[in-house]
Symmetry: C2
Subunit: 318 residues, 2 copies
């Protein structure tokens, strides 16, 4: 119980630090019109778990603690801009995915979605602003940056933009839209094709950004290539575990617990792990993914909070 | 006539070089799903004038020619990624602005807009992909980059993201949406307020990206601060001239010439220079803006194609 409690305290403290940094990272009047400041804040401060930015900071800590990075005063300070950028991009993707022409969700984390409150036009623009602001944040020179830090920033920008764009998150949503509109039949004669599509969608739509979150943290903290590769493999498995558990929770959860319309995935014919593999097999796959994530860490001589985050991915209830 | 012809040849050659670079800059299967490769290309290769990327390359040329930059093999090569990034962002903004929940335009440059062809969901995602790809392109290390080029890239990324985001283009579209939905009464008792709103919308919505286009060209080519400042002031005036002429052409043009629904601005109550100031006064304001652009160039010891582009802004018929 002490371990759990310590980890929960850690999550709370990191969420608070990230929220403070996010507030400072968002555009503010009179630099921008008040309306866009309001709409972006509405979606960013909507009770998110901050999984991705916590992962960024944990990866930065891990490479420094394991001696895989040149000693720096504070890996977290160097990685915080990436943590914020990733949460801004994650939030933009939720705002656009919720639109009537996409997943058409009116409720997210128990609150009306942005287009319900502000209208479709402003919701689209709010997402656009969040995505763009991520790159403003990532390109800033941090105070006391070590020599050569600009190269790390450019590498982080490339990785994040590739993860968010046509090859990653946007591409995944394109495949998801197509799969959903095709009816998503669940397992059948071409189970292999369905499974491959499911993996492809998830790797692009959610996996790519989770990997980018962890990897940019490791890079900005100065991690060497062994550490960066280890963090990347860890995060690929972790992202899969998170997605499978999300799919399971959608089937099992109530609208109250999830703050969104439960069972919606099945109702819209969206391809999910429970729909393709069944609930029991999905739980096994999630546990295997977490084991693989832990093994990738161990191989690279990393651990600490990253291990706890992997365990949390499996046991969380929301 | 020889001068005009030479300038037109120059524009054609630059457009061809930019189109080749844009094709290479866009995401391609199997890295991305084929559908998103198709939708992004549909909008990028839709007969645009390529004003902004031409301006980027012309600014790079100008600072090198005037000796305001350290000698480099080819300022255009160094600036081409920014030229492409700016055209990708310009295209994304058109795709999103044309959406039914924004300006609701079915026709652009004589062709059906992206949401008409691919549906709203894919059009939104296509815009998202174009915006994100711009930062992939800008963050790449070019071959034979001079020492310290990474710092120029980070500066260009910051400028471009700020110009495109909540403080710039997105903010301008937010104000534009609000002004249009308020009915846009044209000149009246509070003409000063209307004029200030009109300027604010244009400076953010179109001016910011035109300034970023020119300034990033000057920065990436290695221009000193005098050159960068001169290019910035030039582009601020040029952007105003372009916008006023666009507004005039909307009133005067036919749907065939413009490739979009002429007179649409007035029909939707969108604030424009002719609506606020009348056609004759708008022509004077455009000519004054071009004069101011030329003066800013002369002050900084710059000229060449940038001067011709300013003159073209005034005399163009589409």
């Amino acid at each position: 119980m002490t371990g759990t409690s310590d980890f929960e305290q850690y999550l709370l403290a990191r969420r608070a630090a990230i929220d403070t940094a996010l507030e400072a990272a968002l555009p503010t009047p009179p630099t921008c019109p008040p309306r866009i400041a309001e709409t972006t804040r509405y979606s960013v401060f909507a009770g998110g778990k901050r999984l991705r930015p916590i992962l960024t900071l944990a990866a930065a800590d891990a490479v420094v603690e394991a001696g895989h990075a040149a000693p720096v005063a504070d890996g977290v300070t160097l990685a915080m801009p990436a943590a914020c950028a990733i949460e801004l991009i994650h939030t933009y993707s939720l705002v656009h995915d919720d639109l009537p022409s996409m997943d058409d969700d009116d409720l997210r984390r128990g609150r009306p979605t942005a287009h319900v409150v502000y209208g479709e036009g402003l919701a689209i623009l709010s997402g656009d602003a969040l995505l763009t602001q991520a790159f403003v944040v990532l390109a800033q020179p941090p105070p006391d940056a070590p020599p050569g830090f600009g190269r790390r920033q450019l590498r982080a920008i490339t990785i994040l933009a590739q993860a968010a764009g046509a090859a990653g998150m946007v591409g995944g949503q394109v495949l998801d839209l197509a799969a959903t509109s095709n009816g998503g039949n669940g397992p059948g004669p071409d189970q292999l094709t369905v499974d491959a599509t499911l993996r492809d969608i998830h790797e692009r739509k959610t996996g790519a950004l989770i990997r980018a979150a962890a990897v940019t943290g490791a890079i900005l903290a100065g991690g060497n290539e062994t550490a960066v590769d280890g963090v990347d493999r860890y995060a690929a498995h972790l992202g899969l575990a998170f997605q499978i558990v999300d799919d399971i929770l959608d089937v099992e959860g109530s609208a109250t617990d999830l703050g969104k319309t439960a069972g919606k995935d099945a109702a819209t014919g969206k391809p999910t792990y429970p729909a393709v593999h069944g609930l029991d097999r999905s739980r096994v796959l999630a546990a295997e993914a977490v084991q693989a994530a832990r093994a990738a860490l161990a191989d690279a001589g990393l651990g600490g909070r990253l291990t706890q985050i992997a365990d949390w991915a499996l046991t969380r209830s929301h």
